[in-house]
């Protein structure tokens, strides 16, 4: 047991070098007086500082009366020095991060967090914790080893955050247009990319890029199964690539229906690929959308489920934790699918596509889909006019609406943070 002092600092105005220097000197003085300082944390907002350390004793230091007001919260604490992560915990039972894409070339992407216990949503959590924006168009987020990897597509970078306090940890720069990340090991992860012909290899331990795998086309969603990585190539392509993660080599590819946009693996270790078939009037022609099941042992198509109408355009294939139930959004070009649009649920053993949606779209416009791995709750978003806070609707696995909340501009990707297991 060590007695010590935690210092929480929040700056009222922008931090300047002088203030920081002064702060360092002050802390040194405190140390000289024999106080043991365990941890120094910086907050962007004074509010956060108080909220987190509720029983804090607050000292207010005034440096230059006109320019800088400094707040320091003292908190007497006792903790074990060997504790690895003493960071602030906002959520007790986990929650879900929502990637708000923001508007292309506007740099207004943001991150929201919905707490499973309190059922509250916090918006702009990245900006609030770090005092700078995420960047331009957030495509997806994936959690690995306590860190969140956020693909900032049109800023050509990956933002790495601490998933407990949302603090920025590192930026992986010099990418082209990162879309998704799949972790191979603690030293290796693959990043797919829309506008470059290769998959980038990064090292999550150092957060640097270490190589590329050339595939010749833009890549989209990925799924890892044993030593192999299966990658869809969506934009104007019809391929699923197979990559050996031991030697980072492209070993095989299979042709599926045009524009495979999402991929999952089921309990039988098969992979499911959802192809939207392209759009009306595109130069390579539009075909009927197909859900394809691929046997990974033979790397051959096992089953194909063509959709009923050329007007439908399914996206966002997801699977529950047990790997036995698929979910997807079936939408349409200009709403022409009518009452067929909505979120569909399908067993991996089914012999045909479901005919009725689990959650009919009604007059909404469904955009992003997420399925909670803990309880199969369904999260589906509507971006409204795309220049205001979008809505996220939460349903249980049977399609009963539980609640809804507003996040930020164009909520798209969902990333679940589960406390009970080592969800990757």
């Amino acid at each position: 047991m060590n007695k010590g002092l935690n210092i929480n600092i929040a700056f009222l105005l922008r931090t300047c070098k002088k203030t920081k220097l002064w702060l360092k000197c002050s802390i040194r003085k405190l140390r000289e007086q024999g106080l043991r300082i365990l941890k120094i944390k910086e907050f962007t907002f004074v509010n956060d500082c108080f909220q987190i350390e509720r029983n804090a004793v607050v000292g207010i230091f005034l440096r230059t009366p006109l320019i800088v007001l400094l707040f320091i919260g003292f908190f007497m604490t006792s903790c074990k020095p060997e504790e690895v992560k003493p960071s602030v915990i906002y959520d007790e039972q986990g929650g879900v991060f929502i990637c708000n894409e923001g508007n292309f070339t506007s740099g207004n992407a943001s991150l929201s967090f919905y707490d499973f216990k309190t059922h509250e949503v916090k918006n702009q959590i990245f900006y609030n914790a770090n005092n700078f924006p995420l960047g331009d168009v957030v495509q997806s987020m994936t959690i690995f080893n306590g860190y969140g990897y956020i693909m900032v597509n049109n800023s050509g970078k990956i933002m790495v955050i601490d998933i407990d306090n949302f603090k920025h940890v590192a930026t992986i720069t010099n990418l082209t247009s990162p879309r998704y990340i799949e972790f191979i090991s603690t030293n290796k992860a693959y990043v797919s990319d829309l506008y470059s012909p290769y998959i980038t290899i990064i090292d999550p331990s150092s957060n640097t890029r270490i190589g590329e795998i050339y595939v010749g086309h833009g890549t989209e969603q990925m799924i890892k199964l044993d030593a192999y990585l299966y990658v869809t190539s969506w934009s104007f392509n019809n391929k699923v690539y197979k990559i050996n993660s031991n030697n980072d080599e492209l070993v095989d590819s299979i042709q599926v229906t045009k524009q495979p946009n999402s991929i999952v693996k089921d309990k039988y270790n098969r992979i499911w690929v959802l192809s939207d078939g392209g759009y009306e009037g595109n130069p390579t022609g539009q075909v009927i959308a197909v859900l394809t099941c691929i046997n990974t042992n033979t790397f051959e198509i096992e089953k194909e489920f063509p959709f009923s109408s050329i007007q439908t355009s399914p996206t966002e294939l997801k699977i529950n934790k047990a790997g036995d139930t698929l979910f997807y959004i079936n939408g349409s070009w200009g709403g022409r699918a009518g009452n067929q649009a909505g979120v569909y649920k399908m067993s991996v053993d089914a012999s045909e596509l479901p005919s009725e949606p689990l959650i009919p779209e009604g007059n909404q416009l469904f955009y992003g889909l997420g399925v909670n791995p803990q309880n199969s709750d369904i999260y589906v978003s509507d971006a409204i006019d795309c220049v205001q806070k979008g809505i996220v609707f939460r349903y249980n696995a049977d399609g009963i609406r539980l609640d809804s909340f507003k996040t930020d501009i164009i909520p798209g990707g969902f990333c679940f943070k589960c406390r009970s297991n080592s969800w990757i």
């Binding site: 207004n108 960047g135 800023s155 104007f236 759009y279 501009i409």
Partner: protein, 651 residues
């Protein structure tokens, strides 16, 4: 005194034109040419027209029309930075709701519907008129916000004139302008050339990537070159034939936004335009007619490639070209002294080709527009003028509903220069070709946007010989725009165009300007203020929180203050632009989604002198005097304080 002299000279030139005009034609012609006059021409009454002072135009010779309008007009210019795309929002409407006419031909891009005002050099313009709201129906349909009319005007001074302007500015900016003009009684030739280039690598504080560093703007250099040839020919006493040819190219690299930290990009836009407008004006007793034909050809290439470790990977490579033909016949007939009947028939044809190389998408489409207009202006009891106008249009053989406009003007204090004006208009704006045919997302089922607008304005001017002039005006308007087109993503994750918003725009426009001459001091001032409230009227989408909220990027408040003084050839000018806060979300979220208000201060100090009998003008300018760090558009870096030296030689 030199300054005064030149001002008097200008007046003399104008007066001489008037006198000359009187000698050769009837009164209709004169009124159209008069700059300073007590009462407006009957067919301009009841209309809300702003004319930008010709001295201001001359003073802004080295700026683009976007800068001129943002400093001297109620139009809000949304600019991406120096030399970059600048679009207009007139009375709180979208960029495509401002129609721009150059020497009688429309220069809105038929694909995009908008005009890039940064590509119109003020040096190539002699006259700028703004037709607010429904008053724009005098010129064309479709201008739900208003029209910007830019014209070349002949200056019939005999002999040869030339002037040369050279500027050197911060961030490696160089501008050169040359004008050569020669004329006799019959023929006038006016050639103008310009060339502008800038490295534009200004330093800014980057608070968007977590590094909190000063950085230099990347990939933002540009080159612009242009030539304009105005030819005028007087045929007999009543005919004027003119041909205006304008060719221009602009190569602009496009900088990434502040949060970009990728592999590096090669992104550029290349614009080239050729525009020709020919006019034959005929002035007869009681009758004036004008035949106007024009041609315009524009190319717009956009290219985006990412530098990757494995070489350059092109993500976007589109080339587009548009060709348009314009034909218009208009007349004015004055059957009685207090009545003017005006009519217009036009036929325009647009051909658009756009192709994107990587995805191999694009479209080839045409559009034909036939329009007809008839209006009657009539003065009653010397103090009241009433007009009625009807406009009808066929677009691609489908008949758009009739667009009527009515208005009146009342001389409130008999001959004391106080006028009350009001008009009401129904207008339609056709979807742009991109809205209809863009792949993916264009929607051929789009309906035209429908606008209803009403205006009331008070105009006052006071003039005491040459020493004191004051002009003041205040006006209010209300517009309703239904079926406003927006783009939003569908399930395919690409954007598509839909008739979604129902918009209610209302506002106040006020200007006050004047000139005071006290002995050898010459003071001029100009202020304008606009209040623009443009809100979404109806909830057309479930969960929509934008009802009653201000549209994005339209400031509620905008004001300009200009003050200049001259003394013995020295000139000092101060310019203040105040832009209110702008929302970037349709629901007007406050947290992280508001661009704060900002004020920009520009000053210049100049001296006019004669060296070896040639007029020489030297100016030193400071823009953004207080080195303000601001954003006009989300996360687009803007330059801090910057300088410019301006030298002009006239022969």
């Amino acid at each position: 005194m030199i300054k005064l002299k030149s001002a008097y000279c200008l007046c003399l030139i104008l007066l001489s034109t008037i006198v000359y005009g009187q000698g050769m034609t009837d009164s209709t012609f004169i009124l159209n040419q008069v700059e300073i006059k007590a009462k407006r021409n009957i067919n301009e009454r009841g209309l809300n027209i702003t004319k930008i002072d010709s001295l201001v135009i001359k003073k802004s010779a080295n700026s683009s029309l976007s800068e001129l309008l943002s400093k001297h007009s109620p139009v809000f210019i949304k600019s991406y930075g120096q030399g970059s795309l600048a679009t207009a929002s007139f009375r709180g409407t979208a960029a495509s709701h401002t129609q721009v006419e150059w020497n009688g031909i429309n220069i809105n891009n038929p694909m995009l519907g908008q005009v890039d005002f940064s590509l119109i050099p003020v040096y190539f313009i002699d006259e700028v008129l703004l037709f607010h709201g429904g008053s724009s129906m005098q010129k064309s349909s479709g201008a739900l916000g208003g029209s910007v009319i830019v014209n070349s005007e002949p200056e019939w001074t005999k002999g040869f004139n030339a002037d040369l302007i050279q500027t050197v500015g911060s961030f490696g900016t160089y501008q050169s302008y040359l004008k050569l003009k020669t004329s006799n009684n019959k023929i006038l030739l006016d050639l103008r050339l310009f060339s502008e280039q800038s490295k534009n690598d200004f330093q800014f504080y980057n608070n968007a990537n977590g590094l909190f560093n000063y950085e230099n703007q990347q990939n933002s250099n540009y080159v612009k070159n242009g030539a304009l040839l105005n030819t005028y020919y007087r045929l007999g006493e009543n005919n004027l034939i003119s041909v205006n040819i304008w060719g221009q190219m602009a190569n602009r690299n496009l900088p990434p936004i502040m949060s970009y930290e990728g592999t590096g990009r090669d992104e550029y836009q290349k614009d080239s335009e050729l525009r020709i407008s020919g006019k034959w004006k005929l002035y007869k007793n009681k009758f004036k007619s004008e035949l106007n034909s024009g041609f315009s050809k524009t190319n717009l290439d956009y290219f985006l490639a990412n530098n990757t470790p494995l070489g350059m990977f092109i993500s976007y490579d589109s080339k587009s070209n548009t060709q348009s033909l314009f034909n218009k016949y208009s007349f004015e007939y004055k059957p009685w002294a207090k009545t003017i009947i005006a009519g217009m028939v036009n036929f325009n044809y647009h051909k658009v080709h756009i192709f994107e190389n990587r995805e191999q998408t694009g479209y080839d489409k045409t559009r034909s527009e036939t329009g007809m207009k008839l209006s009657v202006h009539r003065e009653f009891f010397e103090r009241l003028t009433v007009y009625g106008l009807v406009y009808s249009e066929f677009v691609d053989n489908s008949f758009a509903p009739l667009m009527p406009s009515v208005g009146l003007e009342f001389d409130v204090l008999k001959n004391q220069n106080l006028y009350l004006k009001s008009n009401f208009t129904r207008n339609y704006h056709q979807p742009t070709l991109n809205d209809l045919y863009w792949l993916p997302g264009g929607n051929v089922d789009l309906r035209p946007e429908r606008g209803y607008t009403g205006d009331v304005a008070l105009d006052y001017s006071f003039r005491k010989d040459a020493s004191l002039t004051i002009n003041a005006s205040i006006g209010g308007y209300m517009s309703r725009i239904n079926d406003w087109i927006i783009w939003r993503p569908g399930e395919y994750r690409f954007w598509q165009a839909e008739n979604i918003k129902e918009v209610f725009a209302r506002g106040i426009e006020a200007t006050l300007s004047g000139r005071v001459v006290v002995s050898e001091f010459d003071f001029e001032f100009f202020t304008n203020y606009t209040f623009t409230k443009t809100t979404n009227k109806e909830e057309t989408l479930p969960g929509d929180n934008s009802v009653g909220k201000q549209l994005i990027y339209i400031p509620l408040n905008k004001a300009n203050v200009m003050f200049s003084t001259g003394y013995k050839g020295f000139k000092f000018s101060y310019n203040l632009a105040l832009i209110g806060e702008r929302f970037t979300t349709s629901s007007n979220e406050i947290t992280r989604h508001v661009l704060p208000a900002y004020s920009l201060h520009d000053i210049y100090l100049g001296k006019e002198m004669f060296v070896f009998g040639k007029a020489l003008e030297v100016q030193f300018r400071i823009n953004n005097l207080f080195d303000l760090d601001y954003q006009a558009i989300l996360w687009r870096a803007m330059p801090g304080r910057n300088y410019k030296i301006f030298v002009k030689i006239s022969i």
